[in-house]
Symmetry: C2
Subunit: 151 residues, 2 copies
């Protein structure tokens, strides 16, 4: 362990948490490093498995703790996509929605047009104070029989 990883190019999420002065540890780095790129939508279990390739002894609780912290800080979005476990999305910079394959669970980011007008009337609000809107387009991805063929 004499090689100090000094000038590695930090991916987005890693850079952001670094800037916040978030206390770093080998475990947190292993988790954060899984999210390279913007269009990653992994489940906690997938994140655990990938993090273990760097750091085999990392525990499940640590991954959940770290993810919860990141969500709390607003650096990660937790997306509950129908069935199955939550997925985590590092693309918090640009508001977007999701396109989900109902068969394999794959998730894509989408930014549909004409959504600015999406509002509820006072009657429809039922006294709620609105915080946000989640839109999930359901469909079949190309691999699962999407636009290619029927049945």
């Amino acid at each position: 362990m004499t090689s100090a990883p000094a000038h590695v190019e930090l991916p987005d999420l890693a850079l952001r948490v670094r800037r916040r002065g978030w206390r770093m540890s080998a475990q947190r780095r292993a988790v954060v490093d899984v999210f390279t790129g913007e269009h990653v939508h992994l489940t906690a279990d997938e994140i655990l498995l990938q993090a273990r390739q760097d750091l085999p002894e990392i525990s499940r609780a640590t991954v959940y703790n770290t993810l919860a912290d990141l969500v709390e800080m607003g650096e990660l979005l937790a997306v509950s996509a129908g069935d199955g476990p939550k997925r985590y999305d590092p693309n918090v910079a640009r508001p977007h929605h999701h396109l989900m394959c109902t068969r394999c669970g794959e998730l894509k980011d989408v930014v549909p047009e004409g959504l600015e007008a999406l509002n509820l009337s006072a009657a429809e609000l039922h006294g709620y104070r609105l915080v946000g809107v989640d839109i999930t387009f359901r469909g079949l991805c190309a691999d699962c029989g999407g636009s290619a063929h029927d049945t």
Copy 2:
């Protein structure tokens, strides 16, 4: 057990499954009868508890089986609302979306205006064949600090 419940006024869901010739049993009736009215959004556990008031020996597996059958038949909608368990919605007749309280999980049906135009461009479809859209408005209900006051 000599009183035959002959001309009870059947609520919607009960009527509908009856019409389909779905084989009825005390257990299925207990589950179906929980869904009186349109604006009911219960979790499997709540359904189990309510059904047990009619039929104390009904098992969890039966409730899940029955719910899965009803969803399969299209008589019930399964709504995954963020955290927590799925909720079941008997309002399948009119397409609608949901308004969810992020604190207590309460769910309301809403039919927002100006949604007919909601579409994805070919590029955004990523080869998916679109099946439907789920929209969930997130907020705080009146009881949890909605329109009344801040903090």
